[in-house]
Subunit: 250 residues, 2 copies
């Protein structure tokens, strides 16, 4: 039987995992998926991922890729894999892809969403999925500053030092800050779409936007922070819990 | 200093607790609150609760009562207690109440909400807060059956055997079944308001409504199930995860 390539769409609550990527001796999303796929197919299967999400980061639409030689129809993979996974991971879709398909290079666009809760009472039923920053944030200032990130720029100011990739130039298609009320809580959602992201880029952008919302900087300083090409010019790193990889397009 | 009575409004994610009520050697919401209140006030404080929610059941508006002699202003209690609590419990409000106030007898109305997810993919970021029942449910049948529960009735058919209270007559003011779409998921919310609830009553009602939604019974059989005054006449017990105590009115 020929091996075929299957692209998986994967959702997870990252709270109880040390991130996506396999690391010896600790629990990761990738390793948990490899075990499920190996158990289903009956031979060793490796699950490649499009984004190495960090510890505590969530996904509604991570992309995974497996190569398998099995009579199991592709359409049965989501249910069969999900049945073999813990309750905080699910495979929501599966489709056959061309042998030439490249899970990382063929990405055209990704969307991340970051959720802030700004009201005083702790949002106990969403605390795993937000950053709780009680207090007043100037949303119009955050919205104005976010627009300075749209376009093709060097995003080095928003890349944590651990990033070893060569070019730090990326294109951000959208960076929208919106408010949402859900009594008794008041939320701010920050959606960022781009053709790729540097290490910790969205969390560094969000931390900087929160600093701007608190008045540490004026929104028109965002362009200078971006152009400094220096991580120390930007704001704090927002915690992982508020971040979710919404989808990846090819 | 005179002791004063303070009513607390408490929210929690019940997933990681063995229910509300203190039991030796296991982690409960009540015990965790007692420790926080004792630490804040500096002397032994007991936190009484209006509803003994079961293991895994959540609350947005549980009522608690403490009696304290302390110079700490009542308005400072929510923040000060929440700071001493784990991230899955919060005290969202505090107010002084009359010495004659009775936390259990003075209740006039409670609302519970039960959340079902009926779409196939597992809702990983809501799995702690719903019952995942993938498949078609006949919502109009559930809505019609729910109306048979409104009014003053003997709800013995929906009380688990463990209930030792004498009267099983209660008044249900509302029992509404509504649908909600939040791509890719489809949710059904069941809201029940009543002047009081028997042990497991909402979960037994929900289990029965799901059986009706699946066609096990016609909606017009709900009145007969109710009037049987026999637990075995009703449907399955819905799991705790989907249940949330929304509020309690006095």
């Amino acid at each position: 039987m020929f091996k075929r390539k299957i692209k998986l769409t994967i959702a997870y609550d990252g709270t109880d995992y040390h991130g996506w990527q396999i690391q010896p001796g600790i629990r990761t999303v990738q390793e948990t998926l490899c075990q499920a796929a190996t158990s289903l197919v009956g031979s060793q299967v490796h699950v490649h991922g499009a984004s190495r999400t960090d510890a505590g980061v969530h996904a509604k639409g991570q992309s995974g890729l497996i190569e398998v030689a099995t009579p199991i129809p592709t359409k049965n993979f989501p249910r069969a894999l999900t049945d073999r996974l813990p309750s905080d991971i699910a495979v929501v879709d599966a489709c056959d892809v061309d042998p030439s398909f490249d899970l990382i290079r063929d990405v055209t666009r990704k969307r991340y969403r970051y959720t802030l809760c700004v009201t005083k009472p702790r949002p106990v039923m969403n605390i795993r999925y937000c950053w709780h920053v009680p207090g007043d944030l100037q949303v119009p200032a955050m919205q104005a500053a976010a627009q300075a990130l749209v376009g093709t720029h060097d995003f080095k100011s928003f890349a944590s030092a651990a990033d070893k990739r060569q070019s730090s130039i990326r294109t951000v298609f959208r960076c929208d800050v919106t408010e949402r009320h859900d009594t008794p809580h008041h939320w701010i959602d920050i959606e960022v779409e781009g053709n790729g992201f540097l290490y910790n880029m969205v969390r560094n952008i969000v931390g900087t936007l929160v600093d701007i919302g608190r008045g540490r900087w004026n929104p028109d300083q965002m362009a200078a922070i971006r152009d400094a090409a220096d991580r120390t010019a930007a704001g704090q790193l927002a915690p992982a819990s508020g971040l979710c990889l919404e989808w990846i397009r090819y």
